[in-house]
Amino acid sequence: MPKYDIFEFIRCCDENKNDVVPLKSALDDANSCFGLKTKSNLLDFIGNNGMEDLKFVNTKEWENNPDKTFKIYVDAYEFRSMCNWVILHPYIMKRR
């Protein structure tokens, strides 16, 4: 079971873009896989339900969390856009 609500994340990408922070890896992959070159392009795509056939893969505790008293999890999903299948890893997160 995912730890977080993916649809709330998608809604954030549409309505509260300042609360979403794509990491460098996410932007690099978004560019190379889908031609999405800016944060705006990427979040607009996600917020517009661009991730088709979205399927939950697994959830893991964030290993690099320096605060061990507050657990943070990462949910991984796979999705498709046109012909490209991608795994959505925790490269994008909500700002604290």
Partner: protein
């Protein structure tokens, strides 16, 4: 000054660095720009946490697209295809393409996509000229496909005199004209020109 904190772990030890990276615009080329990167030594995450690269990337892409538009339109003009006739065939307001070329107005993303398509597949203009009629479009498409295919095929000169494609709005012929050769066996096409027609 507001202290910058890592959006993931809350650390205030962010390290900022600058680097250069190419911004590429599909068939529009690329340009090198300066970018900012923040790295968190406490959790290891990195990225443009404060949206400092967005404007630079958008400007670079806009410049590349403007150059691409001019290049595509110049290409048509150099090949004696008038912008006015393209506008007529595509049902665009007259002088649209001239304005794009001169920078008086900028094409939308849809306009740029359209230009890319007609640059890659100029025969689409013929499809538009024929009012996007489905049957005629198929013939135009297949005629172009055959011409491409013929250009890639290797013919033995001693056996093949000529090969080519003849197209019209109503039909497309692929012809292969072979020399008369008694040694050509199985198909028995020693003195007959085989043809494939699409009508």
């Amino acid at each position: 000054m507001e202290k910058l904190i890592c959006p993931a772990c809350g650390s205030s030890n962010l390290v900022k660095s600058n680097y250069h990276e190419y911004v590429t615009e599909n068939i529009g080329g690329q340009v090198l720009i300066d970018k900012v990167l923040y790295q968190c030594p406490d959790c290891g995450l990195e990225g443009d946490f404060f949206n400092e690269n967005e404007l630079a990337i958008e400007k670079a892409l806009s410049d590349l697209k403007n150059k691409l538009v001019v290049s595509i339109l110049d290409g048509f003009t150099e090949n004696k295809v008038s912008l006015s006739s393209i506008e007529r065939a595509l049902d665009l307001p007259q002088r649209t393409l001239t304005k794009w070329k001169n920078g008086a107005s900028a094409p939308t993303s849809a306009g740029i996509a359209l230009l890319k398509f007609i640059k890659l597949f100029p025969w689409l203009l013929e499809v538009a000229e024929n009012k996007f009629d489905y049957e005629i479009s198929q013939k135009i498409f297949m005629g172009n496909a055959f011409q491409k295919m013929i250009s890639k095929m290797t013919f033995i000169e001693s056996e093949f005199k000529e090969a080519g494609v003849i197209t019209s709005a109503n039909s497309t012929f692929l012809y292969i004209h072979m020399h008369k050769n008694e040694d050509i066996n199985a198909m028995g096409y020693g003195n007959i020109t085989p043809m494939v027609t699409i009508s």
